[in-house]
Amino acid sequence: MERFIEGKMHVFGDNIDTDQIYPGQYLDVTDHEEMARYCLKGASAEFEEAFIKGDMVVAGKNFGCGSSRENAAIALKVRGVGCVVAKSFGRIFYRNAINLGLLLIVCPKIDEIAQMGASLRIDMDQHTAMNLETGNSAEIEPVSDYAMKILNAGGIKSLLRDEEMDPTV
């Protein structure tokens, strides 16, 4: 994993549930590229126009709460979201995202530095997130060893291909 991860922020509020990340009417879609088109369609009209691959999604508490639909994590990943930074995450969404190799960062005070359109830089060694426009930063929680192992492998599927894999070791 790179030490620094940077991207332009797209800012959302609290309790952005997976229905808003990936609306129910598209749940019968199985093609990942098509899923990516519906990313955050329930939460924001501007996102579709303004988002560029590598940008970041920044949110309040409980991002990804609600339904376990993996489509939500797939859509974010395939759309090209560099990482999602939020105060907290729904736990099923967290697992789904890490399993796919999508970086999620918990930043309890992200609301103090979030700014639509400004760039955010994550420092994975110093455990900080910095708004590059204002220079203000906030602490991030280190990603667990377990999640890092999965992220560094590009997702859990490459680890699970081995016959005798015990993921807890």
Binding site: N15, D17, D28, F89, I156
Partner: protein, 417 residues
């Protein structure tokens, strides 16, 4: 250890676990529903050839069943082919109902079992004293291949519910009140145990409603200690081969809260989050275009019985459509036998195929822009049941029926006398 920790320890083959630890566990029941064809694809991507324990896998066609689009039909067809190829006998076809109700009806839910399903409301089965949790497609594909899954042992929160529910107030009102007080993110990663004098009086159905709704506080799992009510339910279905775990007397919960329900009035979660809870009377009189009675949260026979009691011999408001989705085929059959279906149809309700229906906006009762819906389901996020600018109110099944009758949000108590 807490009983939930003991369940994890037993399935991980270790003597002891503590909160925060990662364990790898054998899974007793692995449920997959029709929103998750990705489970089959991920299984192939990880070189899955033969499902490790096909007898433990249950496939549910419930979230858009019968299929309303060609793609939905295609996805369900793939599941049938997979079940056949892998010798998975537990294929719950169109019309069998919602996954969680089927698991309860058919005896999959039992104390001490470790149950995982591709559905966020899987904590429902904590009502039976199981450790039961939801996951996505790729995690379930891991279980398909290996029969196991890893978990981080959760911290346990205890919620004590004391007192008696007043007339017209039900388990749904109690849990809405709790979520309103604690918040939609309160229980993230935690296990939530319900205890207290109220719990001992609640039926399995009401316990399922409590546990089901812990998902809306972010809970990983829920738990109610099995007792004579649990055992009577299981005995009636001839279910055996389970283990009841008990929490150690010296176990200390991460947090404990006590709520007295004796003064509680009917509750409502207003748009657009589940913790946006108030006394229902604060919203009384707001017109409702649709009343929706169903789902794993509030579509059981007791819920339909309450609606029938309120609506029998009456007609619902001409400005409100009421959709009734029995949670399972079993529930539908009971509703027919007891005359509830007739009573409700005569009152102006319409029935749809047992399954999830409009709960998640896939089919069978969506709402248009500017429409309002009162529902016995679990979520009211924007766009959940149709248009983003539709308004969804969560309430008890009784309040849903009373509101259909009057055409506006209504306290059910006067109609239950």
């Amino acid at each position: 250890m807490h009983a939930l920790e003991k369940i994890l320890a037993a399935h991980a083959g270790v003597d002891k676990v503590c909160a925060g630890e990662i364990v790898n566990c054998d899974i007793d029941v692995a449920g997959i529903n029709d929103l998750y064809p990705q489970a089959m694809y991920s299984f192939r991507e990880i070189n899955g050839k033969k499902v490790a324990h096909p007898e433990r896998v249950v496939i549910f066609l419930d979230h858009y069943a019968p299929a309303s689009t060609i793609r939905q039909a295609e996805n369900q067809k793939q599941f049938r082919e997979f079940a056949r190829e892998q010798g998975i006998e537990g294929l719950m076809e169109v019309g069998q109902g919602v996954c969680h109700q089927i698991l309860a009806d058919k005896g999959y839910s039992a104390p001490g079992r470790l149950m995982v399903a591709t559905d966020s409301h899987t904590p429902t089965h904590g009502a039976f004293g199981a450790f039961s949790t939801g996951v996505g497609a790729t995690d379930i594909s891991c279980i398909l291949k290996t029969g196991k899954l890893w978990f981080r042992v959760p911290e346990i929160i205890r919620i004590n519910l004391e007192g008696e529910l007043p007339p017209g107030v039900f388990a749904k009102d109690a849990i809405l009140h709790v979520i309103g007080k604690l918040g939609a993110d309160y229980a993230i990663y935690r296990g939530v145990e319900f205890a207290g004098s109220l719990i001992k009086k609640l039926s399995i159905a009401e316990r399922m409603t409590l546990c089901n709704m812990t998902t809306e506080m972010g809970a990983k799992a829920a738990y109610i200690q099995p007792d004579s009510i649990t055992e009577a339910f299981l005995q009636a279905k001839n279910i055996s081969g389970y283990t009841i775990y008990e929490t150690d007397p010296d176990f200390i919960a991460g947090a404990e809260h006590t709520f007295d329900v004796s003064e509680l009035s009917p509750q409502i979660a207003a748009p657009s989050s589940v913790d946006h809870v108030s006394d229902l009377h604060e919203y009384a009189g707001i017109p409702v275009d649709q009343a929706f009675l169903g789902t794993c949260t509030g579509g059981r026979i007791d819920d339909i019985a309450l609606a029938a009691r309120i609506l029998k011999g009456r007609k619902i408001s001409p400005s409100t459509r009421m959709i009734v989705v029995p949670a399972s085929k079993n529930t539908l059959q009971k509703a027919i036998e007891k005359g509830y279906m007739q009573d409700l149809i005569e009152a102006g309700c319409t029935f749809v195929t047992p399954g999830c229906a409009a709960c998640l906006g896939t089919h069978q009762g969506l709402i248009a822009e500017g429409e309002s819906c009162i529902t016995s389901s679990s979520r009211n996020f924007p766009g959940r049941m149709g248009h983003k600018k539709g308004e969804i109110y969560l309430a008890s099944p009784a309040a849903v029926a009373a509101s259909a009758l009057t055409g506006v949000i209504t306290d059910p108590a006067p109609y239950l006398e």
